[in-house]
């Protein structure tokens, strides 16, 4: 460091500063878009300047929307609309969409129109009689919080606007919440695994909030007996709303999501107990563990060479918290740093409980940003990082031999979605480690040239 440059104040290193951040999380507008795009047969209209449409595009990919089916629109607000208001332009754009073959149009407002006071709720109310589809305004300006806040805002609006009050309860049923608040880049496979095990236990999924969810499913969401939260980062507000207003019991609370043998066992057992499907759960656990062990016996994962290697976990709470036990138990590494993107109180309680239970005392950072992650990595000096492409680059020069990209990966592309949940999830994670291990050993250059 240049001796003439100022020392970094202590609070910057310890993560207390909030003034200048290089964040991992996108804004509320993005989270709301991700939620709205999980509703099938709908379109999304961003009441925003044109740049916000790129956050919508990103959400579009995350929900694996098909551009043949889902249209996204944008009012592309300019100075005129910021000065004089953009409601007229919003009206015109909704009218342009009149003929679209959709059942709902989500209207999302971004920072600009909310600050200048555009009333998207009133516009939607006024125009509702003119259009055949349902207009659903969501006030989700980016400044309202992180993408997780946006998911909560959107779920709240959707539930209040669309659910039926008088839905008849269906026994042994569940409403799945926030599967998309999950940093596994192919989280849709996690959701598919959950649905599969629920089906095997004879539990009906009444609604998924949200992924390829029909409006009729949302309307009937209150017919579920229970809610099952699939994220440690978002969705809790929706679960509480459904519990307090419609008496949907929340299951699986206080247990990390099913990543690794123990977490999966606990999670399946809790479901089995609640739905009187203990034997089905036990069978799944026995079969799953047998399959994982047999596969490992045949493939010989290199994970076995990492015994007590210091590891860092940098991820969202949904993947990061369950990974702590997986890394400690299945991989036999030693978590030395756990840096989570978010800092929900419930996630803190869960993580701290896990650390106590495992007898671990890693450095823990909640609501980390890229700077704080880099500083923490420099301080902890892990030999393995479970994280993203960002940590691959942020840790350059620190001599970290293995960076296993499990979230926000850029060096791998998955055509086939791969779950981290459940038993195949364990193998998928082992495979990520194995590939990184193989690359680490690959010779960078040849020592001599072949003769032919």
């Amino acid at each position: 460091m240049d001796p003439e440059q100022p020392e970094v104040p202590a609070d910057l290193v310890t993560g207390l500063s909030e003034k200048c951040r290089d964040p991992y999380l996108r804004c509320a507008f993005h989270g709301a878009a991700q939620t709205a795009l999980g509703v099938s047969g709908s379109a999304l209209l961003a009441h925003s300047p044109q740049g916000c449409e790129y956050l919508v595009n990103n959400a579009f990919s995350s929900q694996e929307c098909d551009y043949m089916e889902t249209i996204t629109l944008c009012t592309k607000l300019c100075v005129d609309e910021i000065v004089h208001g953009g409601e007229d332009l919003l009206v015109r754009t909704i009218r342009q969409a009149k003929e679209l073959p959709i059942s709902a149009l989500f209207v999302l407002s971004a920072c600009g129109p909310e600050i200048v006071g555009d009333d998207i709720v009133a516009v939607c109310e006024d125009l509702q009689p003119e259009v055949r589809f349902t207009l659903i305004p969501i006030e989700c300006a980016g400044f309202r919080g992180s993408q997780y806040d946006g998911i909560d805002i959107a779920l709240d609006t959707i539930l209040r606007k669309l659910v039926k009050n008088d839905a008849e309860k269906i026994s042994n049923s569940v409403c799945l919440i926030a599967p998309h608040a999950n940093a596994n880049p192919t989280w849709i496979a996690d959701l598919a695994w959950v649905k599969q095990v629920l089906s095997q236990m004879g539990i009906e999924v009444v609604a998924t909030l949200t992924h390829r969810t029909r409006l009729s499913e949302i309307a009937n969401a209150t017919s579920a007996e229970t809610t099952l939260l699939l994220s440690h980062d978002a969705g809790r507000r929706a679960a509480e709303y459904l519990q307090n207003t419609y008496h949907l019991e929340s299951v699986g609370d206080g247990i990390p999501l099913p990543i690794g043998l123990t977490n999966t066992q606990r999670w399946l057992t809790a479901l089995g107990e609640r739905f009187d499907a203990q034997s089905a759960a036990e069978k799944m656990i026995a079969d799953g563990e047998k399959m994982v062990m047999a596969t490992c016996r045949r493939k010989w994962p290199m994970a076995r060479f990492f015994y007590r290697t210091p590891a860092a976990i940098v991820a969202d709470a949904t993947i990061g918290i369950p990974l702590v036990r997986f890394v400690t138990e299945e991989m036999e590494m030693t978590p030395a740093l756990v840096a989570l993107y978010s800092s929900q109180p419930s996630a803190r309680v869960l993580l701290e409980g896990e650390l106590r239970d495992l007898g671990l005392a890693p450095k823990v950072v909640y609501g980390t940003d890229v700077y704080e992650t880099r500083k923490s990595l420099g301080e902890v000096k892990p030999r393995v990082i479970f994280g993203s492409t960002i940590e691959r680059h942020a840790s350059e020069g620190m001599g970290v031999p293995y960076i296993v990209e499990v979230v926000r990966m850029m060096r791998q592309f998955r055509f086939i979605n791969r779950e981290y949940f459940g038993y195949t999830g364990i193998l998928n994670l082992f495979e990520c480690v194995q590939n990184e291990w193989t690359l680490r050993w690959r010779s960078k250059e040849k020592r001599y040239e072949a003769k032919w």
Binding site: M1, Y54, C111
Partner: protein
């Protein structure tokens, strides 16, 4: 004139420009089509300076998209650039109500302490712009407290179209240019680059023009702003001449530097094909009094690509080159290509240049017209259709019909189109055929044309076609 219900305009580029200028054609994209906003493009340019901290005064959505897309993916993954920060003041509701200037000032100090940058650029976005944050004053104040320059750019997303972000950022960069201590003979700046702290989005094109400049003995002080340093920017006024890697993006900065600092700007189009490459190189060499050397280089390089030039002439002579802009990587490149097609004896017909594109690139379009680029233009209904799939599907169907109406057509665009004629895949996403600029570009384009013509009867992918346009219904 072609009779076809789906055609909404058929004329020349000049005629189309007149329609846009008189308002007869509305230069507005449909609601389903959104280009980048001013903030994004300003960020592109600013992040093309080494060791800069773009400090975004706003919530996290705007900076994060750009840091993911530009810094991590493009810079770190593709261009070997270290991870650089994208800082944000993370404005929330309380800041929107009570203001965030105090936080911004603290953030600048913090950014300096954390990242030790050579430059901090405060970028305002919609939130801070609307609530009237005085970013310029904060920048001036903050500069007294830290050890580097602090600049501010009003880059609110609503404040202009994508073009204004580029232009305002280039203009801001001029503030870093110090009075020259000397005139560096035979030295130029290349203007108009962006997208990350290294060479422009098409590295190999820039490599090719730098190679040619080097052959002539011309030194490049800075590629602005494609990986240049603050030090290079400070010395940018010491050059003899400015040139652009792309006339469209370099033009504004070139004109401003000429006006304010008296540095001449070489106005030439993109070096596609032999004639444009000669013009580009001589446009720089002549004012530097290096014409003779440049002609020697041109002669030698031309000899090396003589078989390719002969092939292009023989392959394209008498053909109709259908060039589709909406599916091509950049309208100015497409128009440069139209010129190249004409050079090799083809008749260029440009399909689907949106009136919006004409408006946004008006100075460059006018420049191209001045240089004699005035191809036949066809616009179809699908171009204006709501919905990206509908628009793309409809324009594909229309293209297939239009191509049948021309004799001996050849399509220049990308392989996402399936017209019943040879397809020259000019996507810039395939590094196997890069660069497209200069002499090496001639070789690559000749190879692409050869692939298109020699393999025109090979079956196209039902799979990719179905992916793009859905299963065939007829």
């Amino acid at each position: 004139m072609m009779k076809n219900d789906s055609i909404v305009f058929h004329g020349t580029l000049q005629q189309m420009l007149e329609k846009v200028e008189t308002g007869e054609m509305v230069p507005k994209l449909q609601a389903s089509h959104a280009p980048m906003c001013k903030f994004f493009t300003a960020y592109y340019v600013i992040s093309g300076i080494r060791h800069v901290v773009p400090l975004v005064h706003g919530p996290t959505g705007c900076p994060l998209y750009m840091s993911d897309f530009v810094r991590t993916r493009e810079c770190c993954e593709i261009r070997g650039v270290p991870l650089e920060p994208t800082a944000s003041t993370v404005l929330d509701e309380s800041h929107v109500i009570y203001g965030g200037e105090g936080k911004l000032l603290e953030a600048v100090k913090e950014a300096y302490a954390k990242y030790h940058p050579d430059l901090i650029v405060i970028l305002s976005c919609c939130c801070s712009g609307i609530i009237g944050e005085d970013v310029e004053s904060i920048a001036r104040e903050a500069e007294k407290l830290v050890g580097c320059r602090v600049l501010a750019l009003r880059s609110e997303g609503f404040g202009g179209d994508f073009r204004s972000g580029y232009e305002d950022a280039f203009k801001l960069i001029m503030e870093l240019m110090e009075p020259p201590r000397q005139k560096r003979k035979g030295t130029i700046n290349i203007l108009g680059a962006r997208w990350g702290p290294t060479t422009t989005e098409f590295d190999m094109d820039l490599d090719e023009i730098e190679r040619l400049l080097d052959e002539v003995g011309i030194e490049v002080n800075a590629v602005i702003a494609g990986g240049c340093t603050v030090e290079e920017l400070k010395r940018a006024r010491e050059v003899e001449l400015n040139a652009s890697w792309c006339y469209d993006w370099g033009q504004k900065l070139g004109d401003l530097m000429e006006e304010r600092f008296g540095i001449p700007y070489s106005k030439t189009g993109q070096p596609y094909g032999l004639r444009a490459t000669e013009e580009w190189l001589l446009g720089i060499a002549q004012p530097l009094r290096l014409e003779e050397k440049a002609r020697t280089v041109i002669e030698r390089e031309t000899q090396q690509v003589a078989p390719d030039l002969a092939y292009l002439k023989q392959a394209l002579e008498g053909k109709t080159a259908i060039i589709e802009i909406s599916e091509f990587p950049g309208p100015i490149r497409a128009l440069s290509l139209a010129r190249m097609a004409e050079e090799f004896g083809a008749h260029p017909v440009v399909i689907n240049v949106h009136p919006y594109t004409i408006k946004e690139r008006m100075p460059s379009i006018k420049f191209l017209l001045e240089t004699g680029v005035n191809p036949e233009i066809i616009l179809t209904r699908g171009l204006f259709r709501l919905g990206s799939f509908r628009s793309s599907k409809e324009t594909e169907d229309e293209l297939e019909v239009i191509v049948r109406e021309y004799e001996d057509p050849i399509f220049f665009g990308n392989a996402g189109r399936f017209p019943p004629c040879p397809v020259v895949n000019l996507t810039l996403m395939n590094p196997a055929f890069q660069p497209q600029y200069g002499f090496r570009g001639i070789t690559n384009i000749a190879a692409l044309v050869r692939q298109a013509l020699e393999n025109k009867d090979l079956p196209r992918s039902r799979l990719l076609r179905g992916m793009l346009y859905g299963p065939r219904t007829t």
